[in-house]
Symmetry: C2
Subunit: 350 residues, 2 copies
């Protein structure tokens, strides 16, 4: 896919960076260099969606410093690494992409070495620190991307806003889940900040800012990126409930066990008849759901029309995003790549 | 104290920064703006030791951009905020400076609101995110301090190294504790990276780098700062065992219950006779130590000569640090302030 052609270069940049960090960690202690190895494993083979949006946002703005934008875009993969590792700690999720989550990796290390004390606490500690390192390495890589100061300053301001929105959005997610959900509007707010802005709109704009101070371009990228980001997260929520575990890398029904208050779920609560409401109340968020109970919940999500409604929303948001792109005057190359990315981000399988 | 005269300005800069962040978080959700309030509470009234060392490192190098250095120095308080909040999660420490730790604050919020799900997990989640925010805000503040690009670039490179060393040092601390300690040399490595460099040497050098590219000054600040930092942490370890809870803000004996493998403890293990060894093996790291058992452990730390040896080490390191300062040609004003800070950092009460 042309739009994801940067994947091998992003991988190379991440590897080189980690190679440079390794002796520093090793200098503290060979034990600490384990952190680099875990980071490397964790960062292998991602979709590089955020990096790609950043890259094409830059291209859309007419930027042509290839080496620099590849480094800046790769920085987002470290930020995403932090978000995922810390997210798994906060959700106590034991798997990620079909493999043990990082805190589980540290727990296993604790087990294998017959260490003293609580292995759970050691697992959390290792994962918190690895996430902190990746969060730190992200801005380090961005600031060392080689752009001149004015471009970096514009980019870093946007990046700072994105980070704050991300953490606030994640907190809102925890909060809404704890208060047993809110309404459809609130659940939209979560996906806007935790996901849509962070995954698509802001990476595009970061690329744009690194190329130009044109505020018009910044707006175009938002008009295209924000609805697309919302559609992307709605698709992700559908996959979290109905997706094939082989493709999602998560056990079927995990989002239902976790009690994630998605737009899909809020719509079901809003439109449920008394029998459906009771079933939702009883089963949604139950940690030990059986496969049969997962199926029952899925049926309610269909019967209430929530699933169809989310599919409709995805379609509408996708169209709105597409129109913004068509009407814009970004370069043809970027337009084609962004249109391709838009399909990939909202299709049923990515 | 002249050397800590910047404390009110640091407080003001932190407050202003948080005032600017509040509407951003509020825009995500009023619930999320709680994060700013917790950060504000947490960051009130610290000793500002790292900020002071950064400020005086800058002055030692002849820097005279007051507003800029105060902002850069204040950034370190956010980094320290992250380190403490995440540290308390990793150690499952419930108090900090005599008040509930941040994860406990979030647990209490969960309780007060009769939220659903695990309050412990909500507490950990809130604290991880607040730490991530403070870690992000630290480099944001540093990069917006107003220095010109070359100075910022030099400073940020040093800052990046410091962050990586800090996280690696903290991991080594967890690791050594889990493997039931190592030896005196290893425990020195932990205090070097987790504390001495991070608390004193690197903040001094950050200030220096923001003023000058003179490598000689950078070395002077290390020759003064590293032994001083080690002495500082050794004092802290003594206070953790023998200190007055009124002053340390931690329950007496908490470090002993936690099983912190400090230089003090490693020295005791190394020099214990069979009876003392048995007592150490039996009681050290026991989560429910009684006051009587704490007293027994304290006696062993005295009888083995470990306490005296640590006092001697503090004295030697302090002298070495002092000599490096005396022999240097930094400005008299800075020399006086640094000498004052050195005493404060290693005296029995700070």
């Amino acid at each position: 896919m042309e739009s994801l052609k940067i994947r091998p270069q992003v991988q190379e940049i991440i590897d080189e960076f980690l190679n440079e960090q390794k002796p520093i960690l090793n200098g503290v202690s060979p034990a600490a260099s384990q952190l680099v190895d875990f980071a490397r494993e964790f960062l292998v083979g991602g979709k590089r969606l955020r990096a790609a949006f950043c890259y094409w946002g830059y291209k859309a703005a007419g930027g042509d410093s290839e080496k620099e934008i590849l480094h800046a875009a790769s920085a987002l993969e470290f930020l995403q690494g932090c978000a995922l590792v810390h997210d798994d700690v906060m959700d106590a999720s034991d798997t990620r992409r079909g493999k043990p989550a990082i805190h589980k990796r540290f727990e296993n290390l604790h087990n294998d070495q017959s260490f003293a004390g609580s292995k759970e606490l050691f697992g959390v500690g290792g994962a918190v620190l690895l996430g902190d390192l990746m969060l730190s390495w992200a801005d380090q890589m961005l600031l060392n991307s080689g752009f001149e100061f004015q471009a970096l300053k514009r980019g870093k301001d946007l990046y700072d806003l994105m980070r704050t929105e991300l953490m606030a959005g994640q907190y809102l997610d925890l909060y809404n889940q704890a208060k047993r959900g809110g309404d459809v509007a609130e659940s939209f707010n979560v996906i806007r900040f935790k996901s849509a802005k962070y995954s698509i709109e802001r990476p595009l704009q970061l690329g744009g800012k690194l190329a130009t101070d044109d505020e018009n371009l910044n707006k175009v990228l938002s008009d295209f990126g924000l609805p697309l980001g919302e559609a992307f997260q709605l698709r992700d929520d559908l996959l979290g409930v109905f997706g094939d575990p082989e493709i999602t890398g998560k056990p079927a029904g995990d989002d239902l066990r976790e009690g994630k208050r998605t737009v899909l779920i809020e719509l079901a609560f809003e439109n449920a008849n008394p029998a459906e409401s009771k079933l939702l109340e009883d089963l949604f968020g139950k940690a030990d759901l059986t496969q049969h109970e997962v199926d029952n919940l899925r049926e309610v999500l269909q019967a209430t029309g929530a699933q169809n409604r989310v599919e409709e929303l995805i379609e509408q948001l996708f169209q709105r995003s597409n129109e913004a792109l068509s009407e814009s005057n970004v370069t043809t190359e970027a337009k084609n790549a962004l249109a391709e990315l838009a399909i990939a981000a909202t299709s049923r399988r990515l």
